[in-house]
């Protein structure tokens, strides 16, 4: 019962606006520290990979962005479901705020994967299972954002795109499976294992720092974006008056 009231309180826009505003530095500062330390560790401190040489250092931006793009899609779908079922505007705002972040990291993952693939595979693009499903994920983001922008009315944009996000999230495992299945049937699998078996700590620790840093950065960005969405949605609420100093 206590958690329920807490949930309701948090989902009230003014309350969320204040809490999220206080939380931003608590996410942003550790995110910045972790990303800087992780990148330094990855670029300078970690030894070169015995197979891939220095090229493996791309993993420190490639893998966290892959993770973030998937996490964003899941977050979006969960927020969309919450918004549809309990009609919570804040959840819709979160879904809307998450899509561009996820799409940008999906794109980053694709391009860094391609840059990594060039020296490793000898071509810029290979229809490898992971790259292909990442590409489709990027297309799903594009569809979601296109549908949102096609509606003028915010309420309908919220609910229509929420339905699409749910259909998409049911499809993601199917797409993933079908792409791997298709890939494994192609001429002898040439998939290069990017993450070798066990990583030594000097390589692993910076990678984990990057993962944590990117995730915290998402939290900070989502807070800023949802706050902006809340302001745009709360047309004439009295609490907005507190914002203007005079």
């Amino acid at each position: 019962m206590a958690t329920w009231t807490w949930f309701h309180k948090l989902s009230s826009p003014p309350h969320f606006y204040r809490i999220a505003g206080k939380m931003i530095p608590w996410y942003a500062i550790p995110a910045a520290l972790l990303i800087v330390a992780g990148i330094y560790g990855g670029l300078v401190a970690a030894p070169a990979d015995y197979q891939q040489g220095e090229a493996f250092r791309i993993i420190y931006v490639h893998a966290p962005s892959a993770w973030l793009s998937l996490m964003c899609y899941t977050t979006m779908a969960v927020a969309a479901a919450v918004g549809l079922i309990w009609r919570i505007k804040l959840a819709h705002a979160l879904a809307a705020a998450t899509a561009p972040i996820g799409a940008s990291f999906a794109l980053l993952c694709l391009v860094t994967g391609s840059l990594w693939g060039r020296p490793m595979w000898g071509t810029w693009w290979v229809w490898d299972g992971r790259l292909t499903s990442q590409l489709i994920l990027f297309f799903l983001y594009l569809g979601y954002m296109a549908l949102r922008s096609a509606y003028d009315d915010l309420q309908r944009a919220d609910r229509a795109s929420a339905v699409l996000a749910l259909v998409g999230v049911v499809n993601v495992p199917i797409i993933h499976f079908s792409v791997y299945w298709w890939n494994s049937l192609h001429q002898g699998s040439t998939v290069i294992r990017k993450d070798g078996p066990a990583m030594p700590p000097s390589m692993l620790v910076p990678l984990l720092m990057c993962f944590a840093g990117f995730t915290l950065l998402y939290a900070a960005l989502a807070c800023v974006r949802v706050r902006a969405e809340v302001l745009n949605r709360e047309r004439n609420a009295t609490w907005l008056k507190e914002l203007s100093p005079s």
Partner: protein, 229 residues
């Protein structure tokens, strides 16, 4: 007839029958996607080469890409006219469960857009020089695949009802979701052509169809209600 006493099955049947009858009055709804399918297929030899061995190798790809794009084209007509004349709104107000009515509507759409493509697929196969023994698998996979596309498309078409620029948006929404269908369908035909068993791919396609048929009508119903608000 008093609508309150109309049973659910009867209501669904009425929707199905009505759509079929309307389509038979306007043949172009059926013939245009098929003509589009044949035209797409004729592009490949022209763009690639008239070399039979090359064409034979890509025949599953041609059949499947063509079928996918043609069924996308047919989706436009799924709700549009019913929205314009208010039929769709009447359906939401009829008191009958909307998912069931939309299910019937989508089945009608599949019969009108999917079956002609199933019939046209072997013709395209002949053009591309695919062996005759693959036609059975080809038709079966196209039948299952267009079923999935109709149901997925019914959700996307309902979502884009309330927007102005519907058609490009519709393709953007459906294509990424339709990729598993393309992969399984093309692979089934390809396996049959190589003389291997296509059972796995066909069963996967059937599984996707069952899942889509079960879930899509609910999403379509939600989307129609949002679009008609």
């Amino acid at each position: 007839m008093n609508p309150v006493t109309t049973s659910l099955g009867r209501a669904a049947w009425l929707v199905l029958e009505r759509d079929l009858r309307l389509a038979l009055r306007r043949w172009e709804q059926i013939t245009h996607p098929v003509a589009f399918f044949l035209m797409i297929a004729s592009l490949f030899p022209l763009a690639l080469s008239p070399e039979p061995s090359q064409l034979r190798n890509i025949s599953p790809c041609v059949v499947w890409v063509g079928a996918l794009l043609s069924s996308l084209l047919a989706l436009e007509s799924l709700y549009r006219s019913d929205q314009d004349d208010g039929t769709l709104e009447q359906m939401t107000l009829s008191g009958q469960p909307l998912p069931v009515l939309l299910f019937a509507k989508t089945v009608a759409h599949w019969l009108l857009s999917g079956i002609p493509l199933v019939v046209a697929a072997p013709l395209v196969g002949l053009w591309m020089g695919a062996p005759e023994r693959t036609f059975g698998v080809m038709m079966l996979s196209v039948a299952l695949g267009t079923g999935v596309l109709s149901f997925l498309g019914s959700v996307a078409a309902a979502l884009t009802l309330g927007t102005r620029r519907g058609s490009v948006l519709l393709s953007l929404l459906v294509l990424p979701l339709a990729l598993p269908v393309l992969i399984f369908g093309a692979k089934a035909t390809d396996l049959a052509m190589r003389g291997e068993s296509p059972a796995g791919a066909v069963l996967l396609l059937a599984a996707v169809l069952i899942l889509t048929v079960t879930l899509a009508p609910w999403a379509s119903a939600a989307a129609v209600r949002i679009s008609l608000e």
